[in-house]
């Protein structure tokens, strides 16, 4: 080898050693700084310290080796001081893999993270009590009290006085009317928005201003879960100045989105940057005009979101202490691992996301109810929950998740991997070990639902375990999957549901929902459903939903599979996390 080559190699090696040494040094010394360098405007002192630190660093480099250790000690001390100062300033750093899909306009936003941010920055008339087991306990928010008539189609609200939007605009009844009128008016132009999805136009007839602080809703139908709808993010009260009647706003790049003035929630959105349609930077500042400041909310001055693009990286970040909290999505595997890590704390909560098995009932083999029941009996929910979700999901035997009004264990009747029932019923339908029941089982393959492929594999295994069923697995990405659903070409498929408002009303109809395209319809079930919607009598409602489940077990059009659970991981000490069935993360309650 040539000298020059040797020297290049040596130089490169030296370069690697030097740069990694420098890197390790810089990381160890400055990594504590990293959590603190965020907000230049409020943390001028720390920035000042940082600049002098850097100039000191430069000085150290130019000076002799003797002074080095001394300087380093001083530096470390100063860093500790900066850190202490910042901790007092109460910044919560949240790591997430989520991203706002599109917009923060309540008239359009319809994704988890968009709603999550909206909840921190916006106010609704009522809100669900944190920790409520059923999700049906409501607290006053922008309204102080409310009442409805016997028929449940006229609802009156007395509004909180003295509330201002974050720009100082006084809140009154006209804003409530404006918000709902706008949401309904925008439905034709944004049919993919939440108000359309929740059917505001089918529920609300009109909104009437009865006084400066009194508002009345006239509904088209008798509707008991109305408070649930009002507590959802699509009912966020908007500031007319920033939400023109006929226009969607609050998208990134829109200056109004970055101006912290639009809503009346505990926080204001002070920073929002996106790259290539994904969030890279979101920062929330405490709203100085928040109505509940007196009670000490929000408890943290700043919430900073850090965006990781995969769960593995997020896990490494929480383990390294780079973030105070990791919420959505640490994988089941990782969260099980993390439970053994003494440096982090895992918070568990109920889940509301469910998945269910759908049969195409318009043609053979699943036009035969016996075949549907036989296949249902052969499913093994426990195996999926244990193997795929490591016990972090629970088998679901009713379309209404546990904790909620009307939850039953109806499908227990058919059992899990109940092959005796399967073989008996299939024998009646003419299938046996030589003439197996054959069908395609479809799953979604682009990650729209968690672990779809793995789930499908377990379902297939359980079904074929009966010895009389043969399953062909097929998959399509989300676009293709939805098209296949609409074209009704899939024999059996797995679908999922995420509630818009926490009420059995938002689940029970799944058995016969036309957009699932199972071609199943049962008038009795729908009559029971409508009856349950029109009463506030919980015992009666419970009974009605139980009856719906009963029919569902006999029909097996849509079969509940499992319900997720929720978890968050924090580095202690962090308190005030409520993971209840609403799936909401209320950041204003969290404190260190």
């Amino acid at each position: 080898m040539e000298k020059i080559e040797l020297s290049i190699i040596v130089l490169v090696l030296i370069g690697i050693i030097v740069s990694s040494a420098t890197m390790i040094y810089v990381t160890t010394v400055v990594s504590n700084l990293s959590t603190l360098t965020d907000d230049v405007s409020t943390l001028t002192e720390s920035v000042g310290n940082l600049t002098s630190t850097i100039s000191d660093l430069a000085l150290i480099m130019s000076e002799g080796f003797a002074e080095y250790a001394e300087k380093l000690a001083a530096l470390t001390a100063r860093l500790a001081a900066i850190e202490a100062g910042l901790a007092a300033k109460e910044t919560l750093i949240v790591g997430t893999t989520d991203s706002v899909e599109l917009t923060l306009d309540p008239a359009q936003a319809y994704d988890y993270f968009g709603w999550c941010i909206l909840q921190q920055i916006g106010g609704t008339l009522v809100s669900v009590e944190p920790g409520s087991p059923t999700g049906a306990d409501f607290l006053p928010d922008l309204a102080v009290n409310w009442s409805s008539n016997e028929d449940l189609d006229i609802w009156d609200f007395n509004l909180r006085e003295g509330v201002t939007f974050s720009d100082g605009t006084e809140f009154n009844a006209t804003h409530v009317k404006y918000s709902f009128d706008r949401a309904i008016a925008l439905i034709p132009s944004i049919p993919e928005g939440a108000p359309a999805g929740l059917g505001y136009d089918a529920i609300i007839n009109r909104t009437e201003v009865l006084g400066t602080y009194k508002v009345r809703f006239h509904l088209k139908i008798s509707f008991s879960p109305f408070l649930g709808i009002l507590a959802s993010r699509s009912s966020t009260i908007v500031n007319p100045q920033y939400a023109p009647m006929a226009q969607v706003n609050y998208t990134a790049g829109d200056p109004r989105a970055s101006t912290p003035v639009a809503f009346a929630g505990p926080y204001v959105l002070s920073k929002w940057n996106r790259v290539a349609g994904r969030d890279v930077e979101i920062k929330l500042d405490a709203n100085p005009n928040y109505w509940d400041l007196a009670s000490g909310y929000p408890r943290m001055e700043y919430i900073i979101f850090r965006f990781y693009s995969d769960a593995a990286t997020l896990r490494l970040a929480i383990e390294a202490g780079d973030v105070d909290m990791a919420f959505r999505h640490i994988t089941p595997t990782d969260v099980v691992d993390l439970e053994d890590n003494p440096n982090v704390k895992v918070w568990w909560g109920a889940g509301a996301f469910i998945q269910y098995f759908c049969f195409q009932t318009k043609r053979a083999p699943f036009n035969d109810t016996r075949v549907r029941i036989a296949v249902t009996a052969a499913l093994n929910r426990t195996a999926v929950c244990e193997t795929v979700f490591l016990g972090l999901s629970d088998p679901l035997y009713s379309i209404i998740p546990p904790g909620m009004l009307g939850h039953t264990e109806a499908f227990q009747k058919l059992g899990d991997a109940n092959y005796t029932l399967t073989t008996t019923l299939l024998a009646q339908a003419g299938y046996d070990a030589t003439n197996k029941l054959k069908f395609d089982l479809w799953y979604e393959s682009s990650g729209h639902y968690p672990m779809s492929a793995e789930q499908a594999l377990i379902y297939k295994e359980a079904l074929e375990g009966s010895g009389v069923i043969e399953v062909t697995l097929k998959s399509a990405d989300w676009a293709g999957y939805k098209k296949n659903r609409d074209d009704e070409i899939m024999d059996a498929y797995v679908y999922g549901w995420y509630p818009d408002y926490v009420d059995p009303d938002d689940y029970a109809f799944l058995y016969w929902a036309s957009w699932i395209h199972t071609n199943y319809y049962n008038a009795t079930q729908e009559a029971l459903y409508d009856q349950a919607r029109a009463t506030t009598n919980t015992t009666l409602r419970e009974e009605l939903y139980a009856q719906i489940d009963e029919i569902a077990v006999q029909q097996c059009s849509v079969v509940p599979l499992y319900v997720s659970s929720a978890w968050a991981v924090t580095t202690p000490p962090i308190y005030g996390i409520y993971l209840d069935i609403t799936q909401d993360m209320r950041y204003w309650l969290i404190y260190k």
Partner: protein, 277 residues
């Protein structure tokens, strides 16, 4: 084979590559009989169990036996690569022969299209086509084939253009041979060596592209054991440190691709007069 060994290191490289490839092919072929477990069966052991005497390569995140999956997992890649090479060969070679022999506008048009595809990141095209066609071995092979047809076309074309002017071809034309006689009797045999080299490289590339497509989520269904899928799903459990789900399938893919690369490299060196000293 013996004549290959006499050609020095290049010959040995070809032999080594052939041994690797045939070993893997045989392994995949007899895998159903020698695999200790059903490769797709879940919970044959604990979940994510590190290599142990009972499970020499550990288990996957669904408790499948990694060893069985390694033994059986090559068939998809072999099928995809073979099929794509076949398609490339059947389309690229005749197209190249014909286009360059005929010349004129047709040739120019073909070249323009082919060059456009060639100059472009192949994976983007493969991903787009694969997403369009859906899953499955055939669809994967087709989307890969589209990317590699230009290589065949270009090699054939450049060869034909030089061969076309050779005296004996001129002579054949002089005695009134039909164009297809000239093309297949005189020109085609001379192109074969270069095509073989391209084909072996194509094999290796097809395997890597298939793995890449699987990695992006466009692979085959989950109940079919596949190295690419295991590697991909292992990656999702990276942070839990389950190295065996990643390492073994990865090494197998490398071996298979390496086998073909060695054959291709050895052959091209044998056939490249520039490097013969």
């Amino acid at each position: 084979m013996t004549s290959l060994t006499k050609k020095g290191p290049s010959g040995w490289i070809v032999i080594l590559g052939t041994i690797i490839v045939s070993a893997l092919v045989i392994m995949t072929a007899i895998a159903p009989w020698i695999a200790p477990h059903d490769p797709a069966k879940t919970r044959v052991g604990p979940i994510r169990e590190p290599p142990s005497p009972q499970f020499p390569m550990g288990t996957t995140h669904l408790g499948q036996d990694m060893l069985s999956r390694i033994l059986c997992g090559g068939s998809i890649m072999l099928q995809v690569s073979t099929l794509s090479v076949l398609v490339c060969f059947l389309i690229g070679v005749p197209l190249g022969l014909f286009s360059s022999y005929v010349g004129g506008v047709f040739d120019r048009a073909c070249s323009l299209v082919i060059d456009a595809v060639y100059a472009f990141p192949g994976l983007v095209i493969a991903i787009a086509i694969s997403a369009m066609l859906g899953r499955g071995v055939v669809n994967m092979a087709l989307s890969i084939a589209v990317v590699y047809i230009p290589s065949y076309f270009r090699v054939v074309r450049s060869q034909v253009l030089s061969i076309k002017e050779l005296t004996y071809v001129e002579a054949a034309r002089g005695i009134g041979a039909k164009w297809y006689t000239i093309l297949f009797r005189y020109v085609f045999p001379n192109v074969i060596p270069s095509i073989v080299v391209v084909a072996t490289i194509n094999f290796a590339d097809a395997i890597l592209t298939a793995a890449g497509l699987t990695f992006i989520g466009l692979g085959v269904e989950i109940h079919i054991p596949d190295w690419g899928r295991d590697l991909t799903s292992g990656w999702q459990y990276l942070s839990s440190g389950a190295w065996w789900i990643i390492a073994f399938p990865g090494i197998m893919i490398i071996l298979l691709a390496l086998g073909f690369t060695l054959i291709g490299e050895g052959l091209s060196e044998l056939l490249n007069p520039k490097l013969q000293r």
